[in-house]
Amino acid sequence: MTRWRPLRDITLALASASALASSYETLPGKTPVARGAALFSKYCSLCHGAGGAGDGRAASVQNVPPANLTVSWRSREYKMQIVRDGGAAVGRSSSMPAWRDVLTDADIANVVDYVQTLNTENRR
């Protein structure tokens, strides 16, 4: 018979809740593309739009329009760099932030995994 141990059970419940809260960004169990989609929705869609067409709600105030990711021919490595180091690092718009302080390398890889799926050229 299992004896109820309130303190231990409460501790375990709190630990589980804490784990759920802290794993929100990484979404364990999801595919890299699904994790990237969640991150893209939170951080990138503001400028690039929900579908990546460069038509996010903040696109209208940018001096340089956000990239239309549905037609981007850039390599995966290039996309990794521009997300990690920002637009200015590759001679593009400085409006594109360097996300290395917000996203881990794994997060960035997941975002790029998702961005690759947005390219309509890749779907043909």
């Binding site: 400028c47 209208s60 920002g86 302080d101």
Partner: protein, 104 residues
Amino acid sequence: MRPLLACIALVGCVAPAFGADYVVTQSGKAFSVAAVKAKVGDTISFRNEDPFVHNIFSLSDAQSFDLGTFAKGESRQVKLDKPGKIEVECAVHPEMRLVVEVAK
């Protein structure tokens, strides 16, 4: 002199020859104040005191702008051109919000 001292005490602003300059810092992924009450012609200087980049933009009908992304220790300034309510956001940290009420 008295209005200048009161201004500095409230939100860290200084009064140049034309309009006041309100200094809002960005620290700990938050603005130093939740709201600013200003007048047309005043300016707001945003100073990044975090060890990572921040961004400033607004899509408000009263005034929309994009001050871009800037690193630790850097500042960006916007002049308030029209009366109304301006909601200021950071593109890098979506949870950051600041409301600026601009009077005539």
